[in-house]
């Protein structure tokens, strides 16, 4: 127990010292606050139409300008933040759960189940990911829930491989053998004993996974397959941006910047966590 708490402390210290990771986590906290407080701080409703100010450049009344229907871009972006953050979390949550189950079964039981699960991983990795997502979304229809589920269902392979590798090495540890000897159930050994000890790389890959899920969602929404107007997402504001690219730079610049900052924040946080959690890499970076 004591060893455990000191390792948490040292992990924390390394994390704090890592300026990149710290700035990443501060950015994530800011983004979450903005998203949660969107109804309070947004100057307008996301679908409020100001007919007298259509495609107006950033100014005092509309800080980041208005779109081609006269809606306030800043307000729409604040509500759009909710989409990005929700998609990232739910999609990665689904992927992580699937990955843990598949990887744990493969690593713990080995043999036929291992071969079967890893073959499934190979198959999923060999299908061009974006193509598959696009196909399924186009067929089952666009929408935020569909996107979350599909991204989750198509991005669990990395986690599965990580968990399997961890389980393979943990399987022969004494505490696992001891748990087996006293007759603990497989379920208990997997989830109580082995999983907590293999979570570090999973957490890192989950945080980095959120970054790519946010990117994916914005791309799908940009193509019109994600969040449907009038509800805003950064991706679908950029669609308007492209349509009005010759006259309204603010419609393209600001939402993209928001995506960049969000993805950057998660990438920094993920890399920082990797440095802090994995002592083997500490000297290397």
């Amino acid at each position: 127990m004591e060893g455990n708490s000191t390792s948490i402390v040292s992990t924390w210290q390394i994390f704090i010292k890592n300026r990149l990771a710290l700035s990443g986590s501060i950015l994530v906290i800011i983004l979450f606050s903005l998203a949660i407080l969107a109804p309070v701080i947004a100057p307008y409703d996301y679908d409020y139409i100001d007919r007298h100010h259509i495609l107006e450049p950033p100014g005092r009344e509309h800080l980041l300008g208005t779109d081609d229907l006269g809606r306030d871009v800043l307000s729409r972006m604040l509500y759009g933040a909710r989409v990005s953050l929700a998609v990232g979390f739910v999609a990665v949550g689904i992927a992580t759960i699937i990955g843990i189950v598949i990887g744990a079964i493969a690593g713990y039981y080995g043999g036929f189940l291992d071969r079967l699960n890893m073959r499934l991983v190979d198959i999923m990795l060999s299908i061009p990911g974006f193509f598959l997502i696009l196909t399924v979304i186009a067929f089952i229809g666009p929408g935020i829930w569909n996107i979350m589920i599909i991204i989750g269902l198509t991005s669990w392979m990395g986690v599965a491989r990580l968990v399997r590798a961890e389980f393979l090495s943990l399987k022969t540890r004494e505490y696992v053998l001891a748990a087996k000897a006293i007759g603990a159930s497989d379920f208990r050994i997997i989830f109580r004993h082995m999983l907590p000890n293999s979570l570090a790389p999973v957490i890192v890959s989950a945080v980095l996974g959120i970054a790519s899920a946010v990117l994916l969602e914005s791309g799908l929404s940009f193509l019109g397959l994600g969040v449907q107007p009038p509800y805003p997402s950064w991706g679908n504001i950029l669609t308007q941006g492209q349509a009005n690219i010759e006259i309204a730079w603010w419609l393209s610049v600001f939402p993209g910047l928001a995506i960049l900052i969000t993805v950057l924040a998660y990438n920094l946080l993920g890399e920082g966590l990797r440095d802090a959690l994995d002592p083997r890499l500490r000297e290397g970076r």
Partner: protein, 324 residues
């Protein structure tokens, strides 16, 4: 060796079978049918006519029979014909899209490798220098940049404000009237932005990879030995370290070969490039099953071939593996 190769080949076939089966079921079990698009637009359509259409496309049979029929044709390399109104063979539709997408990808892959290796080496040999820190920031930005946003910014800068580059398509209207060098310049101008955007993403990933590979090698004992025997630093880095650090890069090279054929759906749409990505997007939107299956199958074959190629290159390049 022969045993190993035949085992790999068997795995290849099994995986391919799995991929096509999975894709086929996902595509065909999704709600809605390709005939919906033809029939929904036509209020006068009768249920009989609808059935006739489904029969024509073979959609009335049980899905497993449909898959077996498809697989039987694919063994003979027959991808079938498109469901769209032109009814052209799938392979023909795919083939005409290949040159433009492959050229874009080939040029940008070349640029990525040419730039990423020196950048990675330079930041590894000067770890924690200003250059190293600057490239680290650049790499993070490159990783996090939505490619389609970069594309929009490029269009705004070079197309809208500076008027230097055309913002869409691959040829100007007067293309056929141009001289040969004029044609080359015209196409290059049209493709410049998409190549640039494609390069940035790959550059970030590969230079980072090169850096860590190089850092790992530099810490090895034989590098210390090389330095200890008094070799000049340049020799140590470029003759001893670089060669070994390039090994994992070879794997990446093998793995990225299949990517050459896959066009970016979003970028090709933004820049109006008639490539593979655009074809895929169109066929998905119109539920052109044979084209979708054809593209997914070709993509999967190439990915698997890329994996094998990477293994093979690695075996050739690494003397430890060559001996086995």
């Amino acid at each position: 060796m022969i045993l190993h190769l035949s085992r790999r080949f068997l795995e290849f076939i099994l995986t391919l079978f799995g991929i096509t089966l999975l894709s086929f079921f996902i595509i065909h079990l999704a709600p809605g049918k390709p005939t919906d698009i033809l029939t929904e637009l036509n209020p006068k359509i009768t249920p009989e006519a609808r059935e006739r259409l489904e029969k024509y496309y073979g959609l009335d049979k049980p899905i497993i029979i449909q898959y077996l029929l498809w697989a039987k044709r694919i063994i003979k390399l027959d991808f079938g014909e498109s469901f769209s109104t032109d009814h052209r063979p799938v392979w023909e539709k795919i083939r005409e899209r290949i040159p433009v997408t492959v050229s874009i990808n080939l040029v940008s892959m070349l640029l990525v490798f040419l730039l990423a290796i020196p950048i990675g080496v330079a930041s590894a040999t000067r770890q924690n220098s200003f250059f190293d820190k600057a490239t680290t920031v650049g790499v993070f930005l490159g990783f996090s940049m939505p490619a389609f946003w970069l594309a929009l910014l490029m269009i705004m800068l070079f197309g809208v404000y500076l008027h230097w580059l055309p913002i869409s398509g691959i040829k100007s209207l007067n293309y056929s009237a141009l001289s040969f060098p004029g044609k080359v310049i015209d196409i290059s101008k049209h493709l410049f932005m998409i190549v640039f955007v494609t390069t940035i993403g790959g550059l970030a990933a590969l230079s980072r990879y090169m850096r860590s590979s190089m850092l790992e090698v530099i810490r090895q004992d034989y590098i210390t030995t090389a330095r200890a025997k008094g070799l000049p630093e340049r020799m140590v880095i470029y003759r001893h370290a670089l060669r070994n650090a390039l090994l994992p890069i070879i794997t990446i090279l093998g793995l990225s070969v299949p990517g050459l054929l896959g066009g970016s759906v979003i970028l090709e749409k933004i820049f109006g490039i008639p490539g593979m990505g655009q074809l895929f997007f169109m066929s998905v939107m119109t539920r052109d099953y044979p084209v979708i299956m054809g593209l997914l199958t070709i993509g999967a074959i190439l990915t698997l071939a890329g994996n094998m190629l990477a293994d093979l290159c690695y075996a050739i390049a690494d003397p430890r593996l060559r001996r086995q």
